[in-house]
Symmetry: D3
């Protein structure tokens, strides 16, 4: 296999996957495979409901993230650990940045990201894939008359970047991730604005210059991922 360039994504596809959820896609990014489903519930989280009126004026989008036991080299035990908790909060925040919640009152959409096979970048692949499942579910909600017009504000996607052997790299697989001194996850929208930036230097620290080069790299990757999302969305819309 030819070596991947430092600024190249791994081969990435987003395909429809047959489940019983309103939105359902499988994202494959190199050896990472995540099944992303989006389920619609005609209800609102408790804290969102106005105690006086009994009604919620906005909708909600939330996410859950889990790794299947066979997704990792040594079997992953089931259950939500602290890492998964942190990741699913991130996924939810980023997806909500792509939606006008005021346009979907009374609805809750839960995006489930289940990692079938893990080879690095599972949280960012989850975001990128879940956005398409969410978009698919919102299209169904429109058809069923649950929302007027699309609540979508535009695409959101995410990618990981990092500093490996002193150089910036795009889209870390597991081996690169382990070798990285600095690890950063970046989520952006279709206009190139940031939604979330999370950079961590547990094995080291990073300078302002390094930060800048990582953000540049992430922007490139995310533009490409949004194109892949848009292709998948077109396909899904076809009869």
């Amino acid at each position: 296999m030819p070596t991947r360039r430092p600024n190249a994504l791994r081969p990435t596809t987003i395909e429809p996957y047959p489940t019983n959820a309103a939105g359902s896609v499988l994202i494959t990014q190199g050896g990472t495979r995540v099944l992303c489903t989006a389920s619609i519930a005609e209800e609102s989280p408790r804290w969102m409901i106005d105690k006086k009126t009994g009604v919620a004026t906005r909708g909600w989008v939330t996410a859950e993230y889990s790794m299947l036991p066979g997704s990792t080299n040594s079997r992953k035990r089931r259950g939500t650990d602290s890492r998964a908790t942190e990741i699913q909060r991130l996924i939810g925040r980023v997806l909500r940045a792509g939606v006008d919640l005021g346009q979907m009152p009374g609805l809750t959409i839960t995006c489930d990201c289940d990692v079938l096979s893990a080879d690095g970048g599972t949280r960012t692949a989850s975001i990128t894939g879940a956005f398409v499942a969410l978009s698919q579910a919102l299209a169904k909600a429109q058809l069923r008359g649950l929302v007027d017009g699309s609540p979508l504000l535009g695409n959101v996607a995410a990618v990981s970047v990092g500093i490996v052997d002193g150089s910036p790299r795009l889209d870390l697989d597991y081996k690169l991730d382990v070798a990285a001194d600095v690890d950063m996850n970046v989520a952006m929208n279709h206009r190139g604005d940031f939604i979330e930036v999370q950079g961590t230097g547990e094995q080291g620290t990073f300078s302002r210059d390094q930060l800048d080069s990582l953000l540049d790299l992430a922007a490139t990757g995310i533009r490409e991922l949004i194109t892949i999302q848009q292709d998948a969305e077109s396909t899904l819309k076809q009869p």
Copy 2:
């Protein structure tokens, strides 16, 4: 779609699926899809270890069963409920009937059955698929020198049967299952002996004659499923 005959299985395939587990297949039986992985651990459950010698003279095979949130029409909440507990105990018991545990001392193989899409018969499809994943994992264990010779005793597979509108039916999908007065899950081995028979008449009771006709039907279906397993096993063995 032509109506399925009462004694016909739904279209069924068992294919290899790329995860990081030692054994990994996707079984598709009509609209039911279950990802079955088998992971090897070089350890023994506590209760199996002799307190004096500190060693277990036999190995262990166990199973976990879970439905992904998007697998059902209304989103399934995560977590092991009492139904899943009962099902995974059944899967484990049946798989162990296909293995000589004395031939795999010091090893534990966990078979994870994650339902990606549910349309009836998920527990029996889990058994049928997990056996192939288990067989694949045991082949790897042999290659790695963890076992001498194969601990497999022969194939095991399972199918559901039931009485719908007064007539016996093979391989119930969700609609048939809901309509059934009697629901029975049967597991057998390649010699046609029973491993497990679980018949329940919550919506009604059943006579000895009805029981007999259900068992006949199950035997037919299981013979066919074992052929499908054997084909999948041949494919997996090819380079």
Copy 3:
């Protein structure tokens, strides 16, 4: 003690036991003793309530099963493990087959089976005893005007059978259970129809002929147990 014949039940009694529950009996079957109580609540499980009308058109019967710490040779830890979960689901299913739930709208009866002393067959003794407690509770519900007429459809009882040293045996005690190659629990009603058949061959498999002889043996035992139930019910009705 003279050897028990292979087709004989252990000495079995069902007696009223003074607790504060609406129905309350102690069943003794050889060395197995289970306190079975039935408590009436004027409420319905959530999932049964129609969201629009706020009312449940049927009642519910459920069961809980637990072994007291001193019931086993080495102290049993408290708490519901997976075995208990599976057993209490079985007990509930079988009891419901003896009741017309449509005749008891708005009521939930919980049958608690607490094993005081365990010597094999605790799940089947629980069913046989709990039915009498349930019957007693339903009689009280009638007296209090909570139901019109009795919702009972007839008696249900259960027994274990197994293959020990190659021969079929009725009503296995702990020693026989450990020695058995095949273990089967059978529940039937007063008309001799099956409600539940659960046969397991973890230590071996079983042929159709063996299955047939086990079912014959179970039918004999259950007929006898239903007579014991009916005697206990007559006693309980007396002033």
Copy 4:
């Protein structure tokens, strides 16, 4: 039924009860019935084991308390709530005051108190009954050579007292307990020394004089209970 005198115990019996535990008695005190079992384990709690030597120089006695679902008028849900936690800590402390733990190194005895029927005073009846089960278990431990000589220091028993309608009362049943302004549980040994005094005035407060009269009453009751214990112990010792 003739009115019980304010300084009289309810009819109280302590009988052997057939379970699989080393010690096993049923105490009946009026309408309160508690099954008390004592189980021997040849192990020590972790915190008791000296990290250097790996050995515990003393033994341990602990207790668990639970009410069966049918023991109360409205069904009691299973599981250890905060009241049960508090009670089982009390039972354990009092029982340990009757034992020289230094005489039973390497042993842990767990006394399980399961309330079959509750009519007030369940925690004190648990103490009084569990002591006899403990004594029975320690006798077996001696026979098995697990201890040299008896670790028992003498009998311990407990009773409830309270102020009802302004007057002190011994051994409150449920109705009296509800009506009481002050509720006190007292545990003493055979020499008439206090082990535990717990007086609570949630519905009111109490003066020093009232406290004195309650303690006098408790002493009377406990003397009588210790006689009942001793009679039971003699019976249990007979072949």
Copy 5:
């Protein structure tokens, strides 16, 4: 440091502490420091609400107790263990004895006692401090018009006493507590009546005479603590 007399309290202060709760004080008693806050909620516990009227005719006061991880010599793990459960039930009972719950319908006040530093007597210091926080919260409730007039019935406070080396001691610090044969916690009101007496002799038993001398000592200490409470309350009322 001069030796403390057996009947002397440790140096004790109760000061306002800036948090966001309605009542908030820090009690320091020797090396023991407890942050006591009281939070007002305009709601009632479920069990207190009349099912017919949907209203609670009385209010509720409850307490939670916790030790911060750094409060003890070896780090205390977080979470409510059985000791904390027992203690917070005690604190709640005693505080309620100082309040006319009928005067505060529809309100629940939760008193949180968080031990910042532990040197014995944390449960009694919690009671003494929490009463002042509760009093402060009730004053605010009056200002906000949530209650008419003060629901307080008078001060309540608590202290520990014990028998160390055969002699009675007031206000045990950690070293004395470990050395004590008998340990007693006493809560009284401003009139000198008992609210709660809890005496335990796990390391030994105690005679009636010893009990009497402990109660005398406790009464002295509590009188002094109530003076300290009243001084703190005056300070808190000043503008």
Copy 6:
């Protein structure tokens, strides 16, 4: 009160606080007060111990974060929720960036951050305060001979920044935090390198220019906080 400039920290102090932990300080940053303690344990987390040698070649630093119930305007329920989980993982990661774990084999230091009063920026104040407690604990570890030389690599501190009404602001209090469109937490070391950057735009997105101005502001604030830390460390070292 004069308005705070957009690039000014709130008044901040770090003081020693008397608990029983090895390191213990109270950090006050405006209305936010966090008690930070550091406890030393001579043990290693399981996953760090080499299975063959039974020894860990490095030490570990971890953190726990909790808000006391009275710290917030409406009472905070106890227990670790998903937000706390995410925060304590962040605190731990950042603190570890200030320590050479290879210099402290066999030791685990747990930094507990308990928020006594919350007015925004509790997670960053926790980091800044916990570093001083950690430094104090490591000094004690040196005195006790548990480590050779100081494992500290230099100071680490953190601050929040955000975009409020379109302008960048340093050190957000609760009101500013609620009003902010973008919220960013930044941790740096004494050399001005980044350890962690977490920027979130749930209420909006942010451009590269805005990101740059936030990072500049954070750098200013952190330099000032490190000076405050160093002053506190000097004070703590004095006899």
